[in-house]
Structures are given as C-alpha cells and as structure tokens.
C-alpha cells in the first residue's frame, strides 16, 4: 500500500483541496454556458477559469498550462515534507493535450511537446529526476497514479508527485463538437435526459509515498492497488457491456473489499454510452448497492486532471463521513442496476473505488482505503521474474529492419509505410483511416507478430479478422509505447480544420487521433489484447526510464507479455518506430 501524503485541486472553484471541497459541499459548480467562445460556433457549457483567475495563476516564464501545473504542485508541496530534489522522488504528469492551445499554425519553433513541457515544469519546481508524462486520454489521471504505485512498489522511487491537468481551448472543444458529445446545458450523469458532457479545466496533484507519516492512531489515505486495461472494442466507443471496466474492477477488488466500499467514484461523463456501460459493469461486478459519486456535474470533464481530482474529492468527502450528491442527476437513465442520488449521504465506511474509461478503449480502477498509520515504511516488493525479449522491428523513413536484419524497400517516408502495408501485410482497410502514428505502429506491429509466428501474412487474412486462437492467447498482452512528439501530425491536421471561420469543419476521424494513445487501442483491437495499453511521452528517448516503466508494469500485474518501444512521428518524412516484445516466465 502506498500512502497519500498531500493533495491539491486548482480549479475554477478554488485553489486548494479544502476550498474546492467546501464549494462542492455547499452545492456549487463553476459550470457556465458559453456562446461563440474562441470561435467555436456551437454553444456549450463548461467549467473554465475566469480572466481574473487566469491572471492570478500566471507564473512568469510559463504558459497557461505550465502555470496551472506549477501552482497546483507547489500548493500540494506545502502540505508535505517532500524533497523534490531527491533522486528517489519522481514527477509524473497526466495530461491529454498539454500546451496544445499554443501550437503554431506553421512550424513548431518554440512549441513544447508534453514531455518537454513536463521537463520544463520539473526543472522549475526543482525535481532532478526524469519526469514521465502519461497520455492515456480520459484515464490518464488513474494511469498516472497506478504508475506511481508500481514504481514505488518496485523500489524505483520512494515518492511520486503526480499532477493531472488540462486547459480548454478551441482545439479540444471543437473536437468534442465534431463528436456531438457536448451538452449545451449542465450535464446530467446517469440521468434519463442526459445528452452529453461538459468540459472543464483544472489541475490536481496527489503526492504518494512509501513511508507512512501519520502519528500513531491517526488515519491516512492509502492507494491499495489498481488496474488499467483495454476492452479491444472500438477506438471511440466502449464495449456495451462494460467489459473493460468490469475486468478492471474485478482485478482491483479482492476478497472483503466490496463490503468496505463507501462509494464508487464513477467516470459518469453524462454521454449516453459511457454511463450506460458503467452501469452494466457495476452491476456485473456486484456493486449495485454501493452508492455512486458522479462529480462531472460540478467540474465537467477535466480530462487529464479527472482521475486525480475525483479521487481527491472523494477522499476529502469521506474524511467528513459524506458522499456528495451527484449533481445533475434526477431520474435513472441507465439499464444496469446502480444506486445513485442527488442528495448528500452519510457513511462510516473508509474505502472507495475510482473507475474511469477513455477513448482508445482504455479503462481503469483504483482502490483507496483509509487506515491507521503505523509510522513505518511499506517495504518495496520488487519481483524477481526473468524478462526476455523475443523479436524486434525498426522502421525509419528510409529503412526497415526485422530482428536487426535490413529488409529491401523502395519507397520513402509516408509512402514506405503503405509499401510495407501492401507488400507484407494487407487485408485491413482500416489502415487507410489511421493517422501517421497509428500506421507506423500498425505496420511495425504486424511485422513483429509475423516474426512471432502468430500474425497471418499477406493473403491469409483477407477479411482482416483475427484468428480466434490468436486472440485468446494474447488476452494478457500489454501495449506500452513511448514517444516525444505525442500526436503532432494529427494535431496539425485537426488544427487546419478549425483555423478558418468560414471553413470550420472539425473532423471526428482526425480529432480522435489527436489522442496519441489511440494507437495503442488500434493494436489492441486488431489483436484482441486486453491488458494495459499505455502511451508515455518523454522529452527524449530515455531507455532507462522506458525499461523501468515497462518492467514495473509487467512485474506488478498479471500481464504476461508486452509489446513495447519508441514510436515517434514528427511528420511524414521524420519518424521512427523501434518496437519489441518482452515476456516474463521464460
């Protein structure tokens, strides 16, 4: 178990966890209707910082996003004695789009990709270790806490400062508009009248440590365990029966945990599909009687912050013996049996489950519990399983190498990928719908699996279907990828669709790929992989960090093998994929 040392929430409702909690307790929300905001033609409701708040949050030399993170982390650090300069302390940033509102129309001069942003922030705050950015769409905040838990459990670090944050901009809002996912009015989680989500901006920090600090007899929060996975169903729609969320819950709850749950902090975005899917998963997991906490009616969907922020608010409310009303909910509108209320409830229980789901098919669950601090240290539990690499594939704009052997190719750049697809893979028309990053990883993966002797070669898979035997075998394979430039090619493409007021036609099939973890979903769907799928962003290719993350994931979960590597795609003529398969128990 890993101890929660301190927290912060910086949102339009307040600059500390306490201020935020008191506002929620009194029923307040910062949701407001916007019309014609930043050139977005459609009206929408969101929780955004006011101009005065933006000014008050600004940190010299930092962008709006960076300032928000710096403020949140600094405030959290005032509540805990943590030496950020210590080599046993790591900074983990959770964000979906970081500084994207600053993406220049042309070139990328001066633009910081999320990993570079994290490095700048870490430096500003005094961290000396390499920061890690988690970019797993909506579940990033849960993924980031789980990563911290694993790295500490593996003994790589003693403390982790995890901050989740996102700022709203025309870039993000227009994308959700194209998905017809936004509600013009305040969102209504789990309600019969729900028609969509509200977006929100916030930063939220949780400091996790191996060492318990509570005085004897005093209680403190602990992150017990968690799980993330993929439902391998569709890149933007959850499995209707909530298969991924159900599996994440089942992996996270052990015997006796159910009875101790005060509440389940749900994702509850108030879209038709999400809430329905969650209700199914909760019922299947035997949690129909546990009261839900749906917080999107206060904050909207704060994206990279959500998994952290909603965990913290739930902790703080349980400190008070309360389950906050699910604001916006009135009449049940899901078919799975769940217990949800818009009234304040009291509870004496001391545990809760946080669940979350996101684009790319990813799902996550974390179990938190409040226990008496023993004032001593939880030992690191490094596992001693042997890991082995099986095969590798490397693709650059002008070369293809399989298991270190150069292959003959003729095309270059983007055309090389299509040449490889046509000559060595084929039978999967979805290839042409993918963005550059997904195409790159898709072809590299297919070649890798051909080497592994499982993927059918050209001509053997005319209908693009996965052979059933293969899917079954691969269920416990994770996909963990790293890069530097996030989804920059898709980002530019999306930005072009909204850059001109006359031609404002954001495209859902472009926007979806601006979430770089979609590539992990593409691989999971094609091959039926249902273990973790993660995309991490670093400011440079750091093999040591990549190995640490992959090993911690393999060793601290039931995953049997992982498809992993560096997959960066800066433009059509500048990319690199170097991927391999690592297995345990060989």
């Amino acid at each position: 178990m890993i101890t929660v040392l301190a927290t912060n929430i910086t949102s339009p409702l307040g600059m500390t966890t306490e201020q935020n909690y008191q506002m929620l307790k009194s029923g307040r929300s910062a949701l407001k209707r916007y019309e014609g905001w930043c050139g977005v033609p459609e009206a929408f409701t969101a929780s955004l910082f006011t101009d005065e708040q933006r000014e008050a949050l600004a940190v010299e030399g930092c962008s709006r996003f960076e300032s928000l993170v710096v403020r949140s982390v600094r405030e959290a650090l005032t509540h805990a004695e943590v030496d950020v300069t210590d080599e046993r302390t790591v900074f983990i940033l959770s964000t979906t789009k970081g500084n994207v509102e600053m993406l220049p129309a042309e070139g990328s001069e001066g633009y910081l990709h999320p990993g570079e942003t994290a490095a700048k922030i870490a430096c500003q705050l005094g961290f000396t270790t390499q920061p890690i950015t988690v970019c797993n769409a909506c579940i990033s905040g849960v993924s980031a806490q789980l990563l911290a838990h694993r790295l500490i459990s593996e003994g790589r670090y003693d403390r982790a400062v995890v901050c989740g944050a996102d700022c709203q901009s025309a870039f993000i809002v227009s994308g959700f508009v194209s998905f017809k996912a936004l509600s013009p009015d305040e969102c209504r989680p789990f309600d019969i009248e729900r028609i969509g989500l509200n977006l929100g901006e916030a930063a939220s920090t949780i400091i996790l440590a191996r060492t318990s600090v509570a005085a004897e007899g005093k209680r403190e929060w602990q992150l017990v365990r968690g799980c993330t996975n993929n439902d391998a169903y569709h890149i933007s729609a959850p499995s209707p029966q909530g298969d991924g969320t159900y599996a994440a819950i089942m992996a996270t709850l052990h015997e006796g945990d159910r009875e101790r749950l005060a509440t389940v902090s749900v994702h509850g975005t108030a879209t038709m599909f999400n809430d329905q899917m969650e209700s199914k998963a909760l019922q299947r997991a035997g949690l129909s009687e546990v009261p839900l906490s749906a917080l999107k009616g206060y904050y909207g969907h704060t994206m990279g912050a959500a998994g952290v922020l909603e965990s913290i608010i739930t902790m703080r409310a349980l400190d008070d013996g309360l389950i906050l009303p699910s604001r916006g909910f009135e009449e049940i509108g899901v078919s799975g049996k769940v217990t949800i209320s818009n009234q304040m409830q009291t509870t004496g229980k001391q545990s809760f489950l946080k669940i979350i789901s996101g684009f790319g098919g990813c799902n996550g669950a974390l179990l938190f519990t409040r226990t008496e601090g023993e004032g001593n240290e939880a030992p690191a539990t490094p596992q001693t399983v042997l890991l082995a690499q099986t095969h590798s594939v490397r693709i650059t704009p002008s070369a293809l190498e399989i298991d270190g052997q150069p292959m003959e190719t003729s095309a270059e750049g983007k055309a090389l990928l299509t040449e490889i697809y046509k000559s060595r893979i084929g039978g999967y028309p979805k290839y042409y719908k993918m963005d550059m990053l997904s195409r790159l990883v898709f072809v590299a993966t297919e070649l890798l699996l051909q080497q592994e002797g499982k993927a059918p070669g050209n001509g053997q898979a005319e209908d693009g279907q996965v052979e059933s035997g293969q899917a079954e075998e691969a269920v416990d394979r994770a996909v963990i990828l790293f890069n530097r430039t996030s989804s920059i090619v898709a980002d530019r493409q999306h930005q072009q669709t909204i850059s001109d007021a006359e031609g404002f036609f954001p495209s859902p099939s472009v926007f979806v790929y601006t979430l770089p973890n979609i590539v992990t979903g593409e691989i999971a769907i094609k091959h039926g992989y249902k273990a973790e799928t993660s995309l991490y962003i670093l400011d440079h290719k750091d093999n040591h960090i990549m190995d640490s993350v992959v090993e911690a994931s393999l060793l601290q979960s039931d995953t049997q093998s992982v498809l992993t590597g560096w997959v960066d795609c800066e433009d059509e003529n500048k990319f690199e994929a170097e991927i391999r398969i690592i297995t345990k128990n060989i």
Partner: protein, 85 residues
C-alpha cells in the same frame, strides 16, 4: 440525380478514406453500415460533417442520421430536398 449520386460517392470515399474503393464499387442501394461498407460510429459522424461542408445541411445528432445514411440513394434523396448550397 445520377450526378449527385456520383459526387456523393466520391465525397464519401474521400471523407472516409476508403482508399481501395472506386465510386463504381459502391452500389446505390447497398447498406452503408453493418454488412455493407462496414462503416462505424466515427464514419457516421464524418458523414454529418460531409453534409454540412458540401451541402450546408446541419444535423443535430447522429440519431437523426440513422435513416438518412442507410444507403447512397437515401443520402442523395435527403440532400436533394434539403441542400442549402
């Protein structure tokens, strides 16, 4: 009408990146979703963008598109009646 149908097929191939298809391969009355071209929910949203971009038709929700997007013929009929450009 034939002209509109052909233009729609080209626009659909382009918008949905149906790279290996030609307009002649899409039958006028064949279902676009399900067993037909095998389009998915993102494709449906993309068709909504297509109608707005090329014909000035605004659909509020994917649900509205359900009956319109049955086949190229049904889209053409709807466009013919409702186009603004």
């Amino acid at each position: 009408m034939d002209e509109l149908i052909y233009a729609l097929k080209e626009q659909i191939i382009d918008a949905l990146n149906l790279e290996e298809m030609t307009p002649d391969e899409i039958e006028n009355d064949a279902p676009l979703f399900g067993n037909g071209l095998g389009l998915d929910s993102i494709d449906a949203l993309e068709l909504i963008v297509l109608l707005e971009k090329h014909y000035g038709i605004k659909l509020a929700s994917p649900a509205e598109g359900k009956s319109i997007f049955k086949s190229v013929s049904t889209i053409a009929e709807y466009v013919e009646k409702n186009r603004k450009k």
